[in-house]
Amino acid sequence: MIPKISKQGKGELAFASSLFLLGIFVAWDVSKMEIPQGSSIVSPQTFPYMVALFTSLVGIALVFEVLRGRYATPDGDEPGDPFLPANFKTMAILAAAIGLHVILLEIAGYVVAATLCFWGVAFAFGSRKYLKDLGISLAFAGIVYFSFTKGLNINLPSGFFEGMLGK
């Protein structure tokens, strides 16, 4: 008999099945590999197929594990109640801050991208002192930028400030 599946169980089932699908997907992608002729004794597809099979099998095993009611026990070494429903709003803000950094970095330069990212993450984590945060973000980004470009000679995109700050 299958026990009644809780909301958490449904999430876990979705996760487990997506793993199974990942395996199928890898196998499908590998089957389309363009292989140079007569390259080697072992086909370059053999190992990837094994990985795909393994992934799907583990996915199926996890589905059964969840159906038997063996849910995940989150690590106890992190703060916060693991059994509360996830707060997707704060998560989305955080993801947006990271995404913005990815997009802006090479367009607007490191200082702008990092300042906004720092500020956005602090906001997602509940800080509401907008101006003070902005100051700290700018200081953080500036210090990192200068210690990397001047101190370590690692180039970071300068964006708007190009020319102004010199190279």
């Binding site: 583990v58 996890l62 916060g80 990092a114």
Partner: protein, 500 residues
């Protein structure tokens, strides 16, 4: 033996140049600094600091890394004692007793026994490393590709099934890691897989990007989704970080026992520092005359596991240096550090780059000593770091992690990968899947494929070669024991319970 000693002395000569000593000092400082920050374990600490070493010469950079390695471990124990948020599995046990001690006003003694215990264990274990690793490397030269493959599969099995609460979830992490490891061009034929026509993906996914993103971004996303960010209480530290004679009398045996447990379990692929610290705690509890103190702040419960943790960290370096096989997330990052200088750890390392490897081992000794000198007096400064508000802390970690991912290749593709991997990290945390097996999969998966192909090329395609010879047979027998053993054990336990 004698040869190792002479080489080690040469290593000290390398490490004792003013420049290298300075990098060692800087490494201990940075390692502790980053390690103390809550939410950053040793693996992430090293990953975040990797770009800093990019412009330094290999020897100095690796010396700095050795220092960061031990420094991050020290820093982590401070956090778990004063904050009760261990952040990495090796310090969970330390938090158990250490935090209780701190609450009872004995933070100083807990920190001191952790620091001195780590020093003692680190020094003894590094000594074993110095003499053990070259011997193992010499033996490893005789291992055939099929033998290597069996070792990797053993590492997969132990890391995958020993970590975390559920075996299947460990294997889930491993399989996702293997899939990430597949991305890019096949090493021999150059045929592309899982690249989706993206030119940047041909070289594969950067391991450092994966490590930094899964720890830093995954953790940040998870914590943001948990929402209830109760400010954690930092326990005050009164007096100096030092122990009384009584504390010392109660600590020295646990230090030595912890070393004896931690080092061997690091050498064999037993899946990181979780198992040895738990074992050490169990042993100390069983042997202690003050059993009733356990759970309320017994100093033995800090001394033993902390020593085990550090000895384990040195033990993990043995297969990493001698075989090129990392068996913990932290060792994986150190391996990547080597690779970023085009140095491949493995049996040949001791012959091709003796200067680097012995310089590294010597600086492990030096770093360990520096830490003892640096940590106890500076403890008040480290405690200040614990007071950084959570939102700034995670803002800093996230931004710095993105920098680390970008600076390696100056490519935004790595940043996109980081975001995707961060989301996987979130899912893993949400569904109780351990992280370490994923990292082991990413880094050892391509190696497994390489040895698999080499073995089959030697045998002209005959799969029999994979279990030919005594070495693979021994390893696969151990593998069967590791997998079947616990199953039988559990069955017996259940049976016993049912009988009652």
């Amino acid at each position: 033996m004698g040869n190792s000693f002479a080489m080690l002395m040469d290593g000290f000569q390398t490490a004792f140049t003013p420049t290298n000593l300075m990098f060692g000092l800087l490494g201990t400082f940075l390692g502790t600094l980053v390690g103390v920050l809550p939410g950053i374990g040793p693996a992430l600490a090293i990953g975040l600091l990797l770009p800093i070493t990019l412009t330094v010469n290999p020897t100095s950079a690796l010396i700095m890394f050795a220092a960061i390695y031990y420094g991050a471990m020290y820093g982590g124990s401070t956090t778990s004692i004063l904050l009760n948020t261990p952040g990495e599995s090796g310090s969970v046990i330390t938090a158990l007793e250490g935090n209780k001690m701190a609450k009872a006003g004995r933070a100083g003694a807990a920190l001191a026994t952790a620091a001195i215990g780590s020093f003692v264990a680190g020094t003894i274990a590094t000594l074993f490393l110095a003499f053990g690793a070259p011997t193992l490397a010499e033996f490893a030269l005789t291992i055939q590709p099929a033998g290597y493959l069996s070792l990797i599969i053993l590492a997969f099995a132990t890391v995958g099934t020993l970590l975390g609460s559920s075996r299947i979830r460990g294997l889930v992490a491993l399989s996702v890691g293997l899939v990430i490891g597949l991305v890019g061009a096949d090493l021999q034929s150059g045929a592309l897989r899982l690249t989706f026509g993206n030119l940047n993906a041909i070289d594969g996914i950067e391991t450092v990007t994966v490590i930094v993103a899964i720890f830093a971004l995954g953790e940040a996303l998870y914590l943001a989704s948990r929402h209830s960010l109760v400010p954690v209480e930092v326990l005050a530290m009164k007096g100096k970080a030092w122990m009384t004679k009584e504390d010392f009398r109660r600590s020295w045996r646990p230090w030595l026992r912890g070393t004896a447990i931690g080092f061997p379990l690091g050498v064999i692929p037993a899946g990181g520092s979780e198992v040895p610290t738990f074992l050490s705690y169990g042993v100390e509890k069983a042997l202690s005359k003050n059993k009733d103190e356990f759970g309320k702040g017994a100093i033995e419960g800090v001394a033993g596991p902390e020593a085990a943790n550090n000895a384990n960290a040195a033990g993990v370096l043995v297969p990493m240096l001698a075989l090129g096989l990392p068996t913990s997330a932290t060792a994986a990052v150190v391996l990547v550090a080597f690779q970023s200088f085009n140095i491949q750890p493995g049996p040949m390392l001791f012959q091709t780059s003796p200067e680097i490897v012995w310089g590294l081992i010597a600086s492990l000794f030096i770093g360990n000593a520096l830490l003892l000198v640096l940590n106890l007096p500076l403890i008040r400064f480290w405690v200040l770091l614990l007071k950084i508000p959570t939102h700034y802390l995670y803002a800093g970690i996230t931004t710095f992690a993105l920098l680390g991912a970008y600076a390696l290749n100056n490519s935004t593709f790595d940043l996109q990968v980081a975001l995707a991997v961060g989301f996987i990290g979130y899912l893993f945390r949400r569904f109780g899947v351990p992280i370490t097996p994923l990292i082991i999969g990413v880094i050892l998966g391509p190696l497994a494929e390489l040895y698999f192909k080499r073995a089959l090329q030697i045998s002209q395609g005959d799969w029999q070669i994979l279990i030919d010879g005594s070495f693979p047979k021994v390893i696969y027998s151990i593998l069967i024991l590791v997998i079947i053993g616990p199953l039988v054990w559990n069955f017996k336990k259940k049976f016993a319970v049912n009988k009652k």
